[in-house]
Amino acid sequence: MADASDVPLATAPVCIGFMAVKRLLAAPFRDPFAAVGTSIYAGFLLIALFADVIAPHDPLEILFSPDGNLARSAPAGWQHPLGTTNLGRDIFSQLVIGTRAALVVGLAAAVVVALIGTVVGLISGFFGGWIDAVLMRFADVALGIPFLPFVILIAGLLGPHTSNVILGIALLLWPNTARVIRSQVLTVRERAFVEAARVTGASNARILFVHVAPNILPLSFLYGSIAVGWAILTEASIAFLGFGPSDRISWGYMLQDAYASQALSRGDYNWFVPPGLCIVLVVVAGFFISRGYEEILFPKLKD
């Protein structure tokens, strides 16, 4: 008898968890903001996947026009959809290949931020006490460190690698996620099904990962999607300041190249406007997705 009542009690919260995930996946079909954001992400993802096919030239190849001259600062046209740089490189190809760098940094940083934030938030909220106090002091410290200067310092001292930029972003961005997850865990912890699981003798680990974690998963996803935009913006800034990898084409690298090559004074808008617009699109997509999910996940927030 005891066994029979055990099962539904223990599985019920899992169902709640799955429902939350289901709502999450259905969001793009229910909210126009989320729909637009998701389509933009999907579009850039496709471009990144097929970048080699789409890009007409090697992004760093120095091109010549049919008459044998260096194709420097060519205007947009059939040959070069967005023209060429002052060294005769195809801007459109750079833009397409640059999508990869942006998505790699954005997604990697988002996953790391969401992961650290979620684990810290879960542990902090669930166990409370001194563990909570220590973890939250760490969060305070991370929030007291200036964000961009810190990432510059990391990239400047440890070397201009993409992984260092991701490290810098991850080290400072997790507390926002952790704080929100923690407060959510504090309320979930008090819910009846957690009590029920405890009565049935479930271990702390089981309660934490099977009963509590699925319920806060949508929140981690939400904060992860916000982090994508932040990470891409930060990576672009770092590359613009000259602390990014110099052998890897990214939108920030293109902007730095354009700035350093006096594209501004020549009025080469075809060079420095497109990379900026791409960054705007990706970051806006992140805003739209998080806005859409917020309204679906927390209907009471809707003003």
Binding site: F147, L233, A258, Y259, L264, F272, V280, F288
Partner: protein, 325 residues
């Protein structure tokens, strides 16, 4: 009082952690800090003497204690590159950064507060449908890219504003104050400040809008309506005044965050400020300056966070400073 002391202790803790982090990070670098001074003609004795003057011959923990004491009294050492005390190098650029940040923020927050309140009033109309995505888009734009576009259009194409720097080359002034209040300085300030304002207006605007929407649903607004007050009076005297509180604290937070975030704008416009100094000193391996600039930016950020916190409880006594969940 207890609140202030707790916050102050937290702030010192953060600063201590940052200082320690800086100490170890700069010692992770290949070679030691004297490398920049030493050239191949130095004898072994000279190198040792130099290491002694920098205290590098002592054990690490002693170096660390000396370092902490020096930070406490504002002694950041001497710049490798400028061959001047770091404090002097910092003092040269700090006014530029403060003025740039303040003017950008003031424009952004004045604009944001007014337009945000107006948008709350226009809720559900096409104005809102058009403005909200525009504001979000501006917020999503990389700050340096906004600056580049403004610079290309208004600096180079139209030639209305100078292309960079804080003063025209060769211009001399009687004093630092004369330099800052000169028309030349203001003329140079317009584009970077406008970039900053464009980038920052989103936060106060959206904050003001949602506060207004909250406040307008409160009982005292209904009361004001029942008293038959005019719309203007309700919105401005009863609504906006209350909705403005969080915007004021956001201003303090924004100032702290901007001083560090200005890095890219200062670089685009070659604005001789703290952020640009940080970038150039890291690029030139001028570690004492990089360390000092980073520490100063942190101090500003942490102090402004503290002020925002205190301001919040001062302006709105309903906020209790117990456990915030």
């Amino acid at each position: 009082m207890r609140l202030i002391l707790t916050r102050l202790a937290q702030m010192l803790f953060v600063l201590w952690v940052v200082a320690t982090l800086l100490f170890y990070m700069f010692r992770l670098m290949p070679g030691d800090p004297t490398v920049a001074y030493i050239d191949s003609t130095f004898t072994e004795d000279q190198v040792q003497a130099l290491r002694r003057t920098f205290g590098l011959d002592r054990p690490l923990y002693e170096q660390y204690l000396i370092y902490l004491r020096n930070l406490g009294i504002g002694e950041f050492g001497e710049s490798f590159h400028h061959r001047r005390p770091v404090l002097d190098v910092l003092a040269d650029v700090v006014p530029n950064t403060i003025i740039l940040t303040l003017s950008g923020l003031l424009v952004a927050y004045a604009f944001g507060a007014v337009v945000g309140a107006w948008l709350a009033w226009k809720r559900g109309t096409w104005v809102e449908a058009l403005m909200i995505p525009t504001v979000l888009t501006l917020r999503a734009a990389p700050e340096f890219w906004l600056g580049m576009v403004l610079l290309a259009v208004f600096g180079f194409k139209l030639g209305w504003f100078p292309s960079g720097g804080a003063n025209s080359p060769g211009a001399t002034f009687a004093s630092e104050t004369a330099r800052i209040i000169s028309g030349d300085f203001l003329w140079h300030l317009v584009l970077p400040a406008a970039t900053l304002a464009l980038y920052l207006q989103g936060l106060p605007l959206l904050l003001m809008r949602s506060n207004m929407l909250d406040v307008m649903g409160e009982d005292f607004i209904t009361m004001a309506r029942m008293k038959g007050l005019s719309n203007w009076s309700i919105v401005m005297r009863h609504g906006a005044r209350n909705a403005l509180l969080p915007v004021v604290t956001a201003f303090a937070l924004g100032f702290g965050a901007s001083v560090g975030g200005n890095v890219v704008v200062e670089t685009v416009f070659s604005w001789p400020g703290l952020g640009k100094l940080l970038v150039t000193s890291i690029a030139a391996s001028d570690y004492p300056v990089a360390q000092g600039a980073f520490f100063l930016i942190t101090v500003v950020l942490v102090t402004m966070n503290l002020i925002a916190d205190l301001l919040y409880s001062l302006l709105d006594p309903r906020v209790s400073h117990g456990r915030r969940l």
